[in-house]
C-alpha cells in the first residue's frame, strides 16, 4: 500500500484505464501538453498521444457534448472541466443530453460519459471561481454524482466511473489535490452507490462529503476528547443518495449534523434532513442541524472568505449544542 497524493491517485486511474481500453480518452483544457492544472493528467500526453489525451479550446459546452457523443458510440471519455464554475457553460450538454439520452431512447442508447471537475472554495479565488455545485448535478434525474474525499476514493471512484455505463460526474476539490493518503497497490473499485462509514460512533451522526468529510473527522476527534462519540459518514455518492444508509446511522445515534461547504438552500443538507424526516422521524431526538456556508457569493478577502465557509470548529460547536453540552 503506497501513500500518494489525491492528484497522483487520479493520474493512476487515468493511466490504468487508458492502457487497458483504447476507447478510453481524456479531454479538457490544458490537460495534455501542460499536464493539467493540478497535474492529474501529467505525462499522459507523451504516453498516449494527442488523439487520446486531448487539449481542447475553451469551449466547455461543446467538448462536453463531444464526449457525450463519443460515449454513445461506446467510447469511455474522461472529460475534465478545469473548475466547476465553468461547468455552468456545459450544463446544456450535460443536463439536456447526457442525463436524458438513455431514458428518452427507451434504454436503447448508453452514455458512459465521465466528467471530472474540481469544485469548492479554495484560496481567495473570488465569487466566479468558488462555486460548489453538487446540488445542481444531483438535482436532475439521470446523472450519477460522486465526491471523492480521499486519494483512495479519487482513484477508486474514477475507475468505477469509467467502467460504469451511465454518465458520472466526479466532483473533486481544488484544495485536496495535494492531500496524501494510502491507496492499495492492486487495482480496486470504489462503489458508485452507498455511504461510507468513516468512523463509527453512537452519540450523533455527522454526514459529510468531499472536503467536509475532513472537517467532520477533525470535529469527531475533538468531540471524542470531550467524551462525545460521533459517527462520521461520507455520503460519497450524492446521486443516487443512499437513503437506507443515512437513516440507519440516525436510528442508532438519534442525532444528525450535515456539513456542507455549500450555501444551504436546496442543498445536500436539506435533502439529508428530508430523508431523515421521511425514513426516521421518530428516531430523531432533536432537529437535525445543517452546518453550511453563508448564503453569499464567495468574497475575495481572506477573512470574509473564511467566515463564509464552514469548518471543523463550527461542527464541534453544533455538536455540543445538539447534545446540550
Amino acid at each position: 500500500m503506497a501513500e500518494m497524493m489525491y492528484w497522483q491517485a487520479i493520474l493512476r486511474a487515468h493511466d490504468e484505464e487508458l492502457a487497458r481500453d483504447p476507447l478510453v480518452f481524456a479531454m479538457g483544457e490544458d490537460i495534455g501538453v501542460a499536464g493539467g492544472t493540478y497535474k492529474a493528467t501529467s505525462g499522459l500526453y507523451a504516453k498516449y498521444g494527442a488523439d487520446r489525451v486531448i487539449d481542447t479550446p475553451i469551449s466547455e459546452n461543446s467538448y462536453t457534448g463531444l464526449g457525450i457523443g463519443a460515449a454513445m458510440l461506446g467510447c469511455r471519455p474522461i472529460v475534465e472541466i478545469m473548475s466547476v464554475n465553468f461547468a455552468w457553460l456545459a450544463m446544456d450538454q450535460l443536463m439536456n443530453n447526457a442525463a436524458k439520452i438513455h431514458y428518452m431512447s427507451g434504454g436503447k442508447i448508453r452514455c458512459p460519459f465521465v466528467l471530472r471537475v474540481p469544485g469548492g472554495t479554495a484560496h481567495q479565488l473570488g465569487a466566479q471561481h468558488s462555486a460548489r455545485m453538487e446540488k445542481v448535478f444531483m438535482g436532475v434525474s439521470g446523472l450519477r454524482v460522486v465526491t471523492p474525499a480521499t486519494p483512495r476514493d479519487a482513484y477508486g471512484l474514477l475507475k468505477s466511473a469509467v467502467r460504469c455505463d451511465d454518465p458520472v460526474v466526479l466532483i473533486e476539490h481544488e484544495s485536496m489535490y495535494n492531500l496524501k493518503g494510502e491507496v492499495p497497490d492492486e487495482e480496486f473499485f470504489t462503489p458508485l452507490e452507498g455511504v461510507e462509514i468513516c468512523r463509527t460512533g453512537k452519540d450523533l451522526s455527522i454526514f459529510a462529503y468531499n472536503i467536509s468529510v475532513h472537517w467532520a473527522l477533525q470535529a469527531a476527534d475533538q468531540l471524542a476528547k470531550e467524551g462525545i462519540d460521533a459517527e462520521v459518514i461520507d455520503l460519497r455518492a450524492l446521486k443516487p443518495l443512499d437513503r437506507d444508509g443515512i437513516a440507519a446511522s440516525v436510528r442508532k445515534t438519534h442525532r444528525a449534523i450535515i456539513v456542507e461547504e455549500d450555501e444551504a438552500p436546496v442543498g445536500v443538507g436539506s435533502e439529508v434532513i428530508a430523508i431523515l424526516n421521511e425514513e426516521a422521524f421518530f428516531a430523531l431526538d432533536a432537529a437535525p442541524v445543517r452546518v453550511h456556508a453563508r448564503d453569499v457569493p464567495i468574497p475575495y478577502n481572506r477573512r470574509l472568505e473564511k467566515a463564509a465557509i464552514p469548518n471543523a470548529e463550527e461542527v464541534v460547536a453544533a455538536a455540543r449544542k445538539l447534545l446540550g453540552r
Binding site: P22, L23, F25, D51, R52, I54, T56, P57, S59, N61, S62, Y63, T64, G65, L66, G67, I68, G69, A70, A71, M72, L73, G74, C75, D92, Q93, N96, N97, I101, H102, Y103, M104, S105, G106, G107, K108, I109, R110, S141, G142, R144, G156, K159, S160, R163, C164, D165, D166, F188, F189, T190, P191, L192
Partner: protein, 328 residues
C-alpha cells in the same frame, strides 16, 4: 442512374410526404401528442443526402424534425409511428416521442429538441469513428437557426482542428420558427459562415433531388476520403408551419405559394415524367399504394401496439444490470 432507382427515390419522397401528412392528421385526432415538427417541402434534403451515405453504417443525427431522417437511415416507419403514438414498440419505447427517435442498430443517433444541441454530439460520433479507425462518417442535419447557437462555432472549430470526419448538412429553410433568417443571422448564406474554420463548404438548391445528390456525393466523398469536415448548405423551405401550432403570420401566402411551385416532389416527378420513367397514372398508383401502406401497416401497427406499463416508469434512468466492478 437506373430508372428503378429514380422511381424508388420518387417513392421515398412521396412516402415521406404522406407519412408526415398522416402524422398531422393523427395529431389532430389526438393519437399523437407533444410537439410535432413536420418535413413537407424539405424531402429532397434528407433523401438526397442519405442516398449518397452508407445507410446503417454512417452515423446520423438531427434535431426535432427527425422522422424522415430516421426512416431514410432504414429505421422501420412502423416503429417511428409507434413512437409518435407513445407505444412500447416505438423506436424509443414511447419514452421519446416525435422529437426523440433513436435507432442505434441503424446508426440513427437521434433527434434532439434543443436547437444546436446535436452539433457537439456529431463531432463526438466522428471522434469515436476516428479512434476506432473505421471509414464511416458522421452526418449532422440541422436548420439555419441552429447556426446562431454557440455550439455551432465551438463545434466547427474542433471539427476542423482535429480533422473529424463529419458532414454538416444545413437545411436552410429561411426561418427559425417565426423569425426570418435575415433578422437572426448577420450572414444569410450559411455556408459562408464556416470559412474561418477552414472547412470546405458549398451551397446548392435543396429542392432538386438530383442537385442535392450530386452535392452530397462530392461532400461525402470528401469527408470519407480526406477524413475532414464538410459543410453543405441546402436551400429549402418548409411548406407547413414550424410545428402544429403556427399562426403563419410571419410569412406571406405569396411566398409560400412561390415555394410550393418548387416542391421537390413536383420537380422530380416532372423530371421523371419528361424522361418517361414514370407517368401520371404510375405516380397515382404509387401514391395510392403508399397511402394504403401507411394506413394498413404503419398506423395500424402503431395503434394496435401496447402502451408502456406504468410500472416501468422508473426503468431506463440508469442502465439495467450495468457493470459494478466493485462487487467482484
Amino acid at each position: 442512374m437506373e430508372a428503378s432507382d429514380q422511381r424508388r427515390l420518387l417513392r421515398e419522397m412521396l412516402f415521406a410526404r404522406r407519412f408526415e401528412e398522416r402524422c398531422a392528421q393523427a395529431y389532430q385526432e389526438r393519437e399523437i401528442g407533444g410537439f410535432l415538427h413536420l418535413y413537407p417541402g424539405q424531402e429532397a434534403c434528407a433523401i438526397g443526402v442519405l442516398e449518397k451515405a452508407r445507410k446503417g453504417q454512417d452515423y446520423v443525427v438531427t434535431g426535432y424534425r427527425d422522422h424522415i431522417h430516421a426512416i431514410q437511415c432504414g429505421v422501420d416507419p412502423r416503429a417511428v409511428m409507434a413512437e409518435l403514438f407513445g407505444k412500447e414498440t416505438g423506436t424509443s419505447r414511447g419514452r421519446g416521442g416525435s422529437m426523440h427517435i433513436f435507432d442505434i442498430d441503424r446508426h440513427f443517433m437521434g433527434g434532439y429538441a434543443l436547437v444546436g444541441g446535436p452539433f457537439p454530439l456529431a463531432i463526438g460520433f466522428a471522434k469515436a469513428i476516428q479512434l476506432r479507425g473505421g471509414d464511416e462518417i458522421a452526418i449532422c442535419f440541422l436548420g439555419d437557426g441552429a447556426n446562431n447557437q454557440g455550439t455551432f462555432h465551438e463545434t466547427m472549430n474542433m471539427a476542423s482542428l482535429w480533422n473529424l470526419p463529419v458532414l454538416f448538412v444545413c437545411e436552410n429553410n429561411l426561418y427559425g420558427i417565426g423569425t426570418a433568417i435575415e433578422r437572426a443571422s448577420s450572414e444569410i448564406n450559411q455556408y459562408l459562415r464556416v470559412a474561418p474554420y477552414k472547412i470546405a463548404a458549398s451551397q446548392v438548391d435543396g429542392q432538386d433531388l438530383d442537385v442535392v445528390m450530386a452535392a452530397a456525393e462530392t461532400a461525402i466523398q470528401y469527408v470519407r476520403g480526406e477524413r475532414k469536415p464538410y459543410f453543405l448548405e441546402l436551400m429549402t423551405y418548409r411548406l407547413r408551419g414550424h410545428s402544429m401550432s403556427d399562426s403563419g403570420a410571419y410569412r406571406s401566402k405569396e411566398e409560400v405559394e412561390r415555394w410550393a411551385q418548387r416542391d421537390p416532389i413536383g420537380i422530380y416527378k416532372r423530371r421523371l415524367i419528361d424522361a418517361s420513367v414514370i407517368d401520371e397514372a404510375g405516380f397515382r398508383s404509387m401514391d395510392e399504394e403508399i397511402l394504403q401502406d401507411i394506413e394498413d401497416n404503419i398506423i395500424r401497427y402503431a395503434r394496435e401496439s401496447a402502451e408502456p406499463r406504468v410500472e416501468d416508469l422508473e426503468r431506463y434512468v440508469y442502465v439495467e444490470g450495468g457493470p459494478k466492478p466493485w462487487l467482484k
